[in-house]
Symmetry: C2
Subunit: 200 residues, 2 copies
DNA sequence: ATCTTACACAACAATCCGTATTTTAAACAG
DNA sequence: CTGTTTAAAATACGGATTGTTGTGTAAGAT
């Protein structure tokens, strides 16, 4: 599932104990990330919460940045939304509402903040940030592509761009403005998109 | 100009030397923020770059977070765009292009990342983040309000929401996706907005 | 049962933060 | 110009953190 480009350890062929300890560390790191924040995802704190020797963490990840990236990768796993009912406007609203709940339940703000703050220096964080956002937007694009295959919309539209225009305001409100995503916002975004595409 | 709510020191009635040193420190801090990143905006690094005793920084700001907030406040000063020509569609495009250049020239990504990463724990950073984003969006809202006063659009529209829908995709591309804001994106956003409001 | 691997444990230097104290120099008042 | 006030420089300190190294020990593989 993990799509990390760098040398991914062969988790399958590891010691059972190693695999177990590694998972315990990652679980604790995720917990620390979501409760205490990204700047506390450090060898000391994570080791304390995982009841693991601090040096063990350095055996698995070379430094704090690597541990944080792995932690974010663990918490931001791809999502497979339930298939829509096959009606574009309903599926679009569902996709955006689903996005909203994912944003809230997955504590996306601290994760996104950690990514954004490191992306400036560390290219690994930059690509992780892109991946994080694109993965949030992807279900919306999937709805559009499904509608395209049904012939409900013109097939020549750029589903990536269209999905960005639909999901963008939701992400903007939640991640940038720290504001609630209201039903009215979702409704307005979807309604306008339908008007523009002569489906209103 | 600075709208920091907390106890703002009376810069006017300070010692000339104090005022000078304070400015030197802030300048160095801004430099550190933009080149090395927010996590290096620390007493040690800033003092080193400003050629100032480290302890002096603690006389002005109680801790690292306060220094970082002041630094961001210094770099993210409000912007007064030139007035538009009075034609809505042209002014909207200008406002979005102006926004794009501001994002690039003002190194908004590291600033935004620092705000986003601290906003989770520190309410001061949360409001600063909101202020930062709203200040970026405000010129677009101003264009809409001016058009409303001219009667070019219906006066009952929520200029804040509309500006968010217009500027959102630009911010989304630049700050979230680390992608370039193309002319095509701006054109698409504006054209669609005009269509929705029967101005296309 | 033996051997290999990896974790626990302890100690290490290097760094940094925030504070307190003393010394020095700048700004100001008479 | 001189004495006083103010703030910065210099130094030192305790506490905490990062990343490294080395030694024992127990889990897992053969």
């Amino acid at each position: 599932m993990s799509v990390v480009s760098e040398s991914e350890p062969d988790i399958v062929r590891m010691n059972p104990r190693t695999r177990r300890v590694r998972q315990v560390i990652l679980d604790a790191a995720v917990e620390v990330l979501l409760t205490d924040g990204a700047e506390h995802v450090t060898a000391t704190h994570v080791a304390g919460r995982a009841d693991v020797a601090r040096t063990t963490i350095y055996r698995h990840w070379p430094d704090q940045a690597a541990l944080l990236l792995a932690t974010i990768d663990a918490v931001a796993s791809p999502h497979h939304p339930p298939p829509g009912v096959g009606v574009l406007d309903r599926d679009l609203r569902s996709a955006l509402e689903n996005l909203r709940t994912r944003l809230m339940v997955h504590q996306s703000r601290p994760v996104f903040g950690a990514l954004a703050s490191h992306a400036h220096h560390d290219e690994g964080f930059a690509v992780a940030q892109r991946r994080f956002v694109e993965q949030l937007v992807r279900p919306v694009a999937a709805v559009l592509e499904a509608a395209g295959e049904r012939g409900e919309v013109g097939g020549e539209l750029d589903s990536q761009l269209e999905a960005t225009l639909l999901a963008g305001p939701v992400l903007h409100h939640h991640l940038m403005l720290h504001a609630d995503v209201t039903d009215g916002l979702i409704e307005a975004v979807v309604a306008r998109w339908l008007v523009v595409h002569d489906l209103g």
